[in-house]
């Protein structure tokens, strides 16, 4: 079902460019040049997405809040406004030129390397997301495990930032951020385990290949999100990735009205920009992982559209997920620390475990092919996950009724 002819060449375009560039060098250096080129390309692509994302987020939030958003900065040194889409350039110049203040009693080395470790860990985790049919930067057998190992390093960076600032509030903010990241790492991993269980592999390219078929005459893709367990797992994954990326409604660690700015209090200038960039890279990495594991990776939604380049579909789905992140940020209010941890441990972890049972049931009932059997399979599968969800959520949030207002007499 892969594209042929001219469409195949467009699909392979980055590879063709890479081959041309690498062929200029002698044979012994070609492997190293290949690796450097791949790393540089991933960095540049995601840095561009980061720049685009900042302006999209500001405009998107602004429209949700019924205001125009940045609309002055266009092409520099001209009067063309471009609707404000030159804002990333202005932001970059501002961040680079801002003074880099380090507190005198701070631990200089720790204060310096914290944003570096954070950026390195998020860039490393981006290496196993397949960006297209032939565009997987790093082919690993245990790719999903590698993704989580790279994400685990970022917790160390948050602690180092909080400790290295030599500031009580930074430390408390770092502890809160760590508690949040650790609490939500568990539902994140538990939500992914059904996918690994049912595809039998940890390799991202194999998982994308397993979602590459269509049923119902080429109109229903075999993506994991279109199964009951996959939908529940995707929902848990999306909520947990909001928390892992410190995005609203879980952005307590970096909210402006909380503990100044948490672990980012003593950072300014380019180091702050690096933290910001690392947060957005983490968001892209988690969104990319969600697209890979649940939304079919680089496959087209309809088999007739498979001729379009695979990287186009991947980035389209990625931007849809990022749009979801921005939309939720603009819509939902922030959770308090205790509400947050209660939500993770009491609601999401049991639901993720029930979903595991659900996925096992789905796999074991794979032979129920008749229409009646299929309907029964779907009903039972939905019941296995919906019943605990309804019961748990009712019992956990009982007593927190609708808000009643008392006005002064």
């Amino acid at each position: 079902m892969s594209p042929t002819g001219i469409w195949d060449s467009i699909d392979r375009a980055p590879l063709i460019v890479r081959d041309v560039l690498v062929s200029f060098l002698p044979d012994a250096w070609q492997g190293l040049a290949n690796d450097i080129l791949i790393a540089a390309t991933v960095t540049v692509v995601f840095a561009t997405i980061f720049a685009l994302l900042t302006i999209l987020e500001r405009k998107g939030l602004a429209r949700i809040q019924n205001r125009p958003g940045p609309n002055r900065v266009g092409i520099p040194f001209t009067k063309i406004r471009l609707g404000g889409f030159g804002q990333p350039l202005a932001d970059a110049v501002k961040m680079i030129l801002k003074e880099d203040i380090v507190p005198t009693s701070a631990d200089k080395v720790l204060h310096f390397i914290a944003p570096v470790i954070l950026i390195v860990s998020t860039l490393l985790s981006l290496a196993v997301i397949p960006l297209g049919r032939h565009l997987l930067p790093l082919e690993l057998e245990a790719a999903v495990l590698y993704f989580f190992a790279a994400g685990a390093i970022s917790e160390l960076a948050v602690f180092t930032a909080g400790w290295g600032s030599h500031n009580k509030y930074s430390l408390v903010g770092a502890m809160r951020a760590l508690a949040q990241m650790l609490s939500y790492e568990l539902p994140l991993v538990l939500a992914i385990i059904p996918v690994i269980m049912l595809t039998g592999t940890l390799s991202t390219s194999a998982i994308v290949d397993a979602q590459g078929s269509w049923s119902l005459g080429g109109f229903l893709p075999a993506w994991h999100v279109f199964t009951p367990w996959g939908f529940a797992a995707f929902a848990i994954f999306v909520v947990a990735s909001f928390a892992e990326a410190n995005r609203s409604p879980f952005d307590l660690p970096e909210a402006e009205s909380e503990i100044i700015a948490g672990h980012l209090t003593e950072y300014s200038g380019f180091k702050y920009a690096l933290f910001f960039m690392a947060e957005y890279f983490g968001m892209c990495a988690l969104a990319g992982l969600g697209v890979t594991l649940f939304l079919g990776g680089w496959h087209a939604p309809f088999s007739a559209l498979e001729f379009l380049p695979s990287w186009f579909w991947f980035f389209a789905k990625l931007f849809m997920m990022l749009g979801l992140f921005i939309w939720v940020r603009g819509t939902l209010p922030r959770l308090r620390m205790d509400q947050l941890t209660r939500f993770a441990w009491k609601l999401m972890v049991p639901l993720a475990l029930c979903n595991l049972v659900n996925a096992a049931f789905w796999h074991l009932s794979a032979g129920w092919d008749s229409p009646g059997g299929l309907a029964l399979r779907w009903v039972l599968s939905i019941a296995i996950i919906a019943t605990p969800f309804l019961l748990l959520s009712r019992s956990l949030f009982a007593g927190l009724g609708p808000r009643t207002y008392k006005y002064a007499p």
């Binding site: 245990a142 495990l145 190992a149 390093i153 917790e155 160390l156 940890l202």
Partner: protein, 168 residues
């Protein structure tokens, strides 16, 4: 061989620096560098799965436990105590004893001729085989490990928090 020597130097040097630091947080962070070196060693040897698990568990979790414990026991400040005579004697005797141990073991290692087979085990072990072996042959051990981790963590939480009633 050169790569192995470089990885060994990284592991041993960062571990040696870690145990001589007076600031405990710095010691823990140098230890994290050493754990990264061990993960690189596992990757060099072809045990990808174990290398990633090493990073995930040690760097991601055990380092957090150690740093939290250091903060909860107020070890963040560099201690101002001088090196007493008892401490010096303890350090000297420790280093002497350990050098003797190292000498004995290293002598035994260098004197043994290990039969190194050409076909290394690394190439034939895939992740699927490890998973199947884990779930079929070692299922009891896996379940026991799960029970042990649960009990250990419940116990750790209880021990660490039981002081709130009897604040002396």
């Amino acid at each position: 061989m050169i790569l192995l020597a470089a990885i060994s130097f990284l592991i041993l040097a960062s571990a040696a620096v870690a145990i001589t630091r007076r600031n405990l947080i710095h010691a823990a962070l140098w230890l994290v560098v050493s754990w990264f070196g061990v993960a690189l060693f596992f990757l060099w040897a072809g045990a990808q799965f174990i290398g990633f698990v090493q990073v995930l568990v040690y760097v991601g979790a055990v380092s957090m436990i150690m740093l939290f414990a250091m903060l909860l026991t107020r070890q963040g400040r560099v201690p101002v105590e001088m090196l007493t005579l008892k401490a010096e004697k303890r350090i000297a005797s420790g280093v002497l004893l350990v050098s003797a141990v190292f000498g004995v073991i290293a002598g035994c290692i260098l004197g043994t001729d290990f039969p190194v087979t050409e076909a290394s085990a690394a190439s034939s072990v895939t992740l699927v085989r490890i998973g199947e072996s884990l779930m079929n042959d070692h299922a009891v051990a896996l379940l026991a490990m799960g029970a042990l981790l649960t009990v250990a963590l419940i116990g750790a939480v209880y021990i660490a928090s039981s002081g709130e009633e009897d604040a002396s």
